[in-house]
């Protein structure tokens, strides 16, 4: 396995990214969930903090649909703050002064890991839709190979929200001896019909864009901008809540006193969504969006255990802490409770909190002090049991930053 420099393949050609990348599956291809062999593949990652001598203080952070490995630093492409800097950093619940934090770009992603934008070694052309369909368990397999490479037998914690939470569940089910604690946040053990439906709308929007060219847009010198932005706009609404939208925008008009009686972005909410859609296109690959949404759709952890979710966690040594948010209708509390019930049924060590918030699914990325205090308590007590240093939660310093803006779900 060789260490590489991760590359961002943008419209202006490849660009070096911070962090590292690892070649996996070179000697023996990965066996994907679909049954196909795949390899060699690249997995890009970033780390924060220092691995201790016992290699016992590693925390793996798993990102959501459109996130990446830049969890706690300004993004190299967009310049925006790290997507989970409210949680990961000095004095935060995942304290980079005490923990060694690892975050990978998922398989199928577009921030340096193997994905449809990378060249297909057989042809030298971008993979496009020739890239194999990957699943959550393939993403986790790639992460496990990285953790092996880093010489870490047991991760102190695997944590993630939304699709990241699915990866946490997969880790706990498939490799229970490789982690001490698991923190799945705002997630579910399977993707619901409603969630698949929203993803399908996004995918159809991308594929309906003539600039998509059957997935071969890179060779045509185009980007399916309109399709990808519509996909992002739709998805973005699902990350919010009615009260959050109302609080933020209401029916206020954008830069005008009276309606223009046209199809311009009259309302602030329209203007906001258009902005969200257009900026997304610059950092995210349309085909990656297809692949990663598909991976979430296929996720159904119970199906791997004869349809009984509890069997995924039988005799698990893992200590679980789950959290959901009251206004999240994409991954509602009921989904989280299903996981809790399954864990209870096998007498697993589980904590669960529903955090009162009106910010919808996005709440998991935002400044939710109650969530952060609970998580800090859970991680601190788990660290104490292991003889790892504990720490105090220091207040969030968001000076000069708008924590409600432009998060990545």
């Amino acid at each position: 396995m060789d260490k590489l420099v991760p590359l961002f393949i943008g419209p202006d050609g490849p660009r070096e990214l911070p962090g590292a990348a690892l070649r996996i599956g070179a000697e023996q291809p990965l066996r994907l969930r679909s049954g196909l062999p795949f390899g060699p593949a690249t997995i890009a990652y970033q780390t924060y903090g220092t691995l201790n001598a016992a290699r016992s203080n590693a925390v793996l952070v798993c990102h959501a649909l459109t996130g990446d490995q830049y969890v706690a630093e300004d993004h190299p492409i967009t310049g925006r703050p790290g997507w989970w800097e409210v949680l990961v950093g000095p004095g935060r619940p995942i304290d980079t002064e005490r923990f060694f934090v690892i975050c990978t770009n998922v398989l199928g992603g577009c921030m340096g890991s193997s994905g449809p934008r990378e060249p297909d070694p057989r042809t030298g052309r971008p993979w496009g839709l020739e890239f194999p369909v990957v699943t959550i368990s393939d993403m986790v397999l790639a992460q496990r190979l990285l953790v092996d490479h880093l010489g870490i037998d047991r991760l102190f914690c695997v944590i993630g929200g939304s699709m990241g939470g699915m990866q946490v569940l997969e880790w706990a089910a498939k490799y229970p001896e490789r982690l001490v604690t698991a923190v799945p946040v705002a997630t579910a053990a399977h993707h619901s019909a409603q969630n698949i439906a929203f993803h399908e709308i996004g995918r159809q929007a991308i594929m309906a864009d003539p600039d998509w060219h059957g997935g071969r847009y890179l060779e045509s010198g185009t980007i399916p901008r309109r399709g990808l932005s519509v996909a992002r706009m739709t998805a973005h609404v699902t990350y919010l809540s009615e009260p959050a939208l109302h609080r933020k925008f209401g029916r206020r008009l954008q830069d005008r006193e009276t309606p223009a009686f046209s199809f311009d972005a009259d309302f602030q909410v329209e203007s906001y969504l258009r902005y969200q859609g257009s900026t997304f296109v610059d950092r995210f690959d349309a085909n990656s969006y297809l692949y990663i949404t598909r991976a979430m759709d296929y996720f159904d952890l119970a199906a791997d255990y004869g349809g009984i979710l509890a069997e995924a966690f039988r005799d698990s040594p893992v200590r679980f802490c789950l959290a959901s948010f009251s206004s999240d209708w994409l991954f509602p509390t009921a989904e989280c409770r299903r996981i809790v019930h399954a864990l209870n049924a096998v007498a697993a060590d589980v904590s669960f909190v529903e955090i009162e918030s009106d910010k919808g699914h996005d709440a998991f990325l935002l400044d939710e002090p109650e969530f952060h205090a609970t998580l800090h308590g859970f991680l601190n007590s788990s660290a104490e049991r292991l003889g790892l240093p504990t720490g105090r939660l220091r207040p969030l310093d968001l000076s000069g930053r708008d924590p409600t803006k432009d998060r990545i779900s």
Binding site: N344, V353, G377, N380
Partner: protein, 222 residues
């Protein structure tokens, strides 16, 4: 009733009293004393986890909690306990049989929708169940009704009738009848006095009159 005797139940020198952690609720110290060290305990309606934390640190139990209120859950998880947010009325059926050595329900039974169903769940989930509740047969309670004609308020029943969450109050005798009809065995029975001293129940009649709280160790009748 068996001869199960709680250790150090007379207050004064126990760690719980000394640290004051369980001091405000006499039934909690007795419950803590009834639990065997190193056992598995589910505390239903665990609040902020005071009893559970005491059991985990002083009795080395494997502790789990179930709590309805978010603030209680958050406080308990933040102090390192394994607690889930849930409802004793509906969520107990999710637990497998004999998952715990003890299922503890302290001063919560009277606030459940179906005390009989909850009791049956307790002795199913736990090899033993420990249940405490305010005794509505306590003489001060009787006197409040008899002499003042008012709904009683005592240190065990502090809320006004219009504020209380207690919807199924009972006396010790009522409770024993319910256990009988649910085929639940009473392994040990205690009353706690207002000064927080605990005594084993010898005469139900007298306990029903002089006990402010009842604490019972129960099991399923096989």
């Amino acid at each position: 009733m068996s001869d199960t005797t709680p250790g150090r139940r007379n207050g004064g020198g126990t760690p719980g009293w000394a640290t004051g952690r369980l001091a405000r609720r006499g039934d909690l110290q007795l419950i803590a004393d009834l639990v065997r060290p190193g056992s598995r305990v589910l505390d239903i309606g665990c609040g902020d986890g005071a009893l559970l934390e005491y059991l985990v640190t002083e009795k080395q139990v494997t502790g789990r909690g179930l709590e309805f209120g978010q603030s209680g859950v958050n406080a308990a998880v933040a102090r390192g306990l394994s607690v889930i947010q849930g409802d004793a009325n509906t969520d107990l059926e999710d637990y497998p049989a004999d998952a715990f050595d003890y299922a503890v329900l302290s001063k919560t039974l009277q606030a459940t929708r179906s005390p009989a169903a909850v009791l049956r769940q307790l002795v199913r989930i736990g090899r033993l169940a420990i249940v405490s509740f305010p005794n509505f047969g306590y003489w001060r309670v009787r006197l409040a009704l008899l002499l003042r004609g008012r709904m009683p308020r005592t240190s065990s029943l502090p809320d006004h009738w219009y504020e209380t969450e207690n919807i199924h109050l009972c006396t010790i005798s009522d409770f024993l009848d319910l256990c009988e009809s649910c085929r639940i065995r009473v392994e040990a029975a205690y009353v706690v006095a207002p000064d927080r001293t605990a005594k084993p129940i010898r005469s139900v009649r007298s306990a029903n009159l002089f006990g402010q709280d009842g604490v019972f160790l129960l099991s399923a009748r096989s």
